[in-house]
């Protein structure tokens, strides 16, 4: 992989993420069953499949991201749609060329976080997907090499997801279980550790 990210590079990463999510579907449903309603695997699968389909067209990189965002929002899987949809929509705001260097990739992901935060108030430590996403995007800062950037993100997402085991859920359905959520990894965080891992591998 060259040291730039094009639309088709990113589309390939999304495809890889889709494959990885599909492979781990059962585990994700089980994680959500422990603290929520047991559908997160199915939901995230539908989200990432919608993203993958929307990423295929011949729109510009920017428009591709907006399309992916809208497609994800329209999936209709409860919270995951609007949250992850606004993440991709947000990314689109920061992209204006067809080839990004490492700093631009990091900026794209930061813009995604900004989009997501319009809808979610969850912070690090609240036991949500944020616990994987926020450290992953932080870890991209200052990287010059794109593969290194994605590996760092994947590593940070993985340990962020791991850390959710010790946390008490503050958002989503799991919030109602309070202390009883301790000891279980958050399903959404696990999804994003898988997604960032796929981004790094593809």
């Amino acid at each position: 992989m060259s040291n730039s990210l094009t639309k088709s590079d990113f589309a390939a990463k999304i495809s890889a993420a889709k494959k990885k999510i599909e492979e781990n579907l059962e585990e994700l449903n089980k994680l959500d069953a422990a603290t929520g309603d047991g559908d997160h695997g199915t939901s995230i699968k539908r989200v990432i499949e919608a993203a993958d389909t929307a990423a295929q067209g011949d729109a510009s990189f920017k428009d591709m991201l907006t399309n992916v965002g809208m497609a994800v929002m329209s999936v209709g899987v409860g919270s995951a749609g609007p949250l992850i949809g606004s993440f991709f929509m947000g990314m689109g705001d920061a992209v204006d060329s067809e080839e990004l260097d490492a700093a631009q990739v990091a900026a794209m992901f930061h813009a995604g976080v900004a989009g997501l935060q319009k809808y979610s108030k969850a912070q690090i430590g609240d036991k949500t997907m944020m616990d994987a996403i926020l450290p992953a995007v932080e870890a991209m800062d200052g990287k010059v090499d794109i593969p290194v950037l994605f590996s760092a993100a994947a590593e940070a997402a993985a340990s962020g997801a791991e850390a959710t085991r010790q946390m008490t859920a503050k958002f989503g359905r799991a919030r109602n279980l309070g202390e009883r959520t301790k000891g279980h990894m958050d399903a959404g965080a696990r999804s994003f550790s898988l997604i960032f891992a796929a981004f790094a591998e593809a």
Binding site: D37, T42, G76, V77, G81, R173, R175, N176, G178
Partner: protein
Amino acid sequence: MVMKKFLNDPNDLTPELLEGYCLAYPDKVKLVNDKIVMRANPKDESKVAVVTLGGAGHEPALSGYVGDGLLDASVVGDIFAAPPGPKVLEALKLLNRDAGILLIILNHQGDVLNGNMALDLAEREGIKVKSILTHEDIAPGTAAPIEDRRGLGGCIPLAKIAGAAADAGKSLDEVLEIAERFNNQMATLAVTMKTATAPQSGEYISSLPDDMMEIGMGQHGEGGGTGPQKIMTADETAETMVKKLAAAIDVKSGDQAMLIVNGSGATTLMEMFIVFRKAYKVLEEMGVKVAISRCEEMLTVQEAAGFQMFLGKVDDELLGYLQAPSNAPYWVTQ
């Protein structure tokens, strides 16, 4: 294990149930754009429209309450999942009118996220819409932050009031004011004896030991309650719950109230009548007059055993709207 349910392909659950529903009551409701249930006979555009959104799997809620004198539309998501914001926007566009639209959102994160997204998108398109958030679950206590207080079955009598006020020609601000008044004086508490199976996966949603029940479980079997406890008698259960509800909305001697026992699925109407009886008597002893009531399955949780008990304080105006004629398939008033 094979699920003990009558199903076809689990992926087709929602479209099939909506199609069946609209075929059963074609003089009252019709299905538009796949997932929007609308009145078969739309009302005059000069009147405020009342819309709600929510996942399927809780039948007859919410779409069962679309009809004259009640909702104008219900936007339906997949089983237990909020419909996407863009789909909610479609309904708002279809009902766009100068009189405006009231969007009733139940306090569940998915509904709130998608509802708010639809409101944002609608605003950009210049659609006149206001929203109301129901959050009358008292399981976490009335002092709990709003995020913790779920919207349970209380959205249905609230929709009845909003629908009747809208059909009576009230303005959007008036409808909102009337509905908010009721919103602030209603409370629901759920109790579960047996949890349900998610119809797509066949998995049990949560579980409860054989001799246990739980007060305060959410309507998807998620927790939030006081934890499992030994099964109490109908009278003990009713008394415990109605007293908490009465305290939460502070009904006092001389007040009028609406009392609902809303079955979760497998609990029989027989049991619901027995529970209703005791709750009524406790209120009677307090001097509270049950001015209107319902005992039936309104917002279910698949084949869960349990019920939601609802108590709302009413004045003559609210009572009038609750008693006004309506012709939704699952709430007909002459």
